[in-house]
Amino acid sequence: MKKIRTLLAFEGRRMLTSKSTLIYVIIYFISYIISVIFFQLYGSDGSVLTEASAQSFPIQHLQAGILFTGTFIAIYVAQITRQERTQSTIKLILLRPVSRLQYYISKILSIAFFSMLLTLIQITVGYLVGMLFFGWHGTLVFGDIVTSGLTGVGITFLSGVAFAFAYFAFGMLMMLLSEFLPRLIDCAAVGIVILLIGQYAEVLPSIRPYVLVHQMLFFHQDIFEMSAVYNLRSAIVILAYCLACSFAGYYVFRHEDLSV
């Protein structure tokens, strides 16, 4: 456990102090400002916003950021896996008495934390931009939910947790795929392709609940709108992706010759 904690603390520090994270914050900030401009020009027809209020701003933008957020996760996963091979820094860790299982678990936990961090960044930047342009007045409108104040904040963060869970599963899928992709850019490209193609599953009602991209788009919304049984199935689907990808990824990694 001590070594997993050490590796996790190391990844956490890297995550919080890296230029990439700062770039992601800036990208979200700029995209949200663009959304505000389009809302002010064209109303809700030109933006994902339906309510000009800081209370609604973050939750209404979560889904819209799927390409950004998914790509950032694909890049992060590639940085902590594939790049460690190409730069050979994995040697610094595995030449110590650290098992491959400990190493892999630390990466899984790092991806989980990164998913939560990205979600927190989106929510925080969303509140910031919302406050700058619309102020706190008004209500939170999200699907059939209309509320305000602390209840709205609670719903936003609950939605964020569901959102982070689905994106964590995507991160696990990317970690499995990174075992087979030679470079960081390949991982990012494959991640984008999966996100684009996965959205077409929406035209097939029978399979879409089992497609991860559908859960990334809607799970954070369905937890408020759909039945408990439906949401339980969705949660199981996401969990199944997490488990299948993590076990498969570990199996490959455990038997991999690291000629670094």
Binding site: T6, S88, L92, L95, P97, V260
Partner: protein, 246 residues
């Protein structure tokens, strides 16, 4: 005749095949406490592949490596806890300082490594003034020395060095030799791979020579020089190759 000493490293029928190529072919040798063994061979002989198997970076096709009796295949943690190593090039996180890299490495060991030990190893390799410099500003020679400091960090009983003379100037080479021989006198065992036969001859007391993955000669340096009636390991190597081709 050498007196009986504790066996630190035992390589037994170690083999690595990839597709149909045999990279390492049934290697057998052992090292005793305090040995400084040169693991010699030309480029592509299988030296680094062997060292990677010893440190569990890659998996043997067959055979085993025992470090203080612990199998690298089945008891990896216990085996690696007594090893410090540089495999191919020493690599560090470039955005972190020398000391931060050593700190991370120390925290991943099985023992408590105090800050004083980190400073001690940096002083041993003359990097104490660069401890707060980011590794991306280091020259190749400085990275090599930091790699050596990292290998010494956890007081290992076996140190595996892969081409440690890369990037070292003549002063650095002399310092390396003095350090290795000083530590060997304290009971630390070294396995040093190189294709620079003359340089290694000055450092090592015994050698294992491989060619195309196969062991072609082994023994103590003085014994081999007498056996082949030559004055340097290059001539021993060529004599082995000549005998092999004959």
């Amino acid at each position: 005749m050498q007196p009986n000493k504790e066996t630190v490293l035992e390589v037994s029928e170690l083999t690595k095949k990839v597709d149909r190529m045999i990279l390492v072919d049934h290697l057998n040798f052992s090292l005793e406490k305090g040995d400084i063994c040169g693991f010699l061979g030309e480029n592509g002989a299988g030296k680094t592949t062997t060292l990677r198997m010893m440190t569990h970076l890659i998996f043997p096709t067959s055979g085993d490596v025992l470090i203080h009796g612990h199998s690298i295949r089945t008891d990896t943690r216990a085996a690696l806890s007594q090893v410090g190593s540089i495999i191919e090039n020493p690599t560090f996180y470039l955005s972190m300082t020398a000391l931060q890299n050593l700190r991370l490495s120390a925290r991943l060991s099985d023992q408590h490594v105090p800050e004083s030990r980190m400073m001690e190893v940096l002083q041993m390799v003359n990097l104490e003034n660069a401890k707060n410099q980011k590794v991306k500003t280091f020259s190749l020679g400085m990275k090599q020395r930091l790699g050596f400091a990292n290998a010494l960090l956890c007081n290992p009983s076996l140190i595996i060095l892969d081409e440690p003379t890369n990037g070292l100037d003549p002063i650095g080479l002399t310092e390396l030799k003095d350090m290795v021989q000083g530590l060997s006198a304290q009971g630390i065992t070294f396995l040093i791979s190189s294709h620079m036969l003359r340089e290694i001859q000055d450092i090592c007391n015994r050698v294992e020579i491989i060619h195309k993955g196969q062991q072609i000669e082994s023994g103590y340096v003085t014994d081999l020089l007498n056996q082949y009636k030559v004055s340097n390991m290059e001539d021993v190597y060529f004599a082995c190759m000549g005998r092999r081709l004959a």
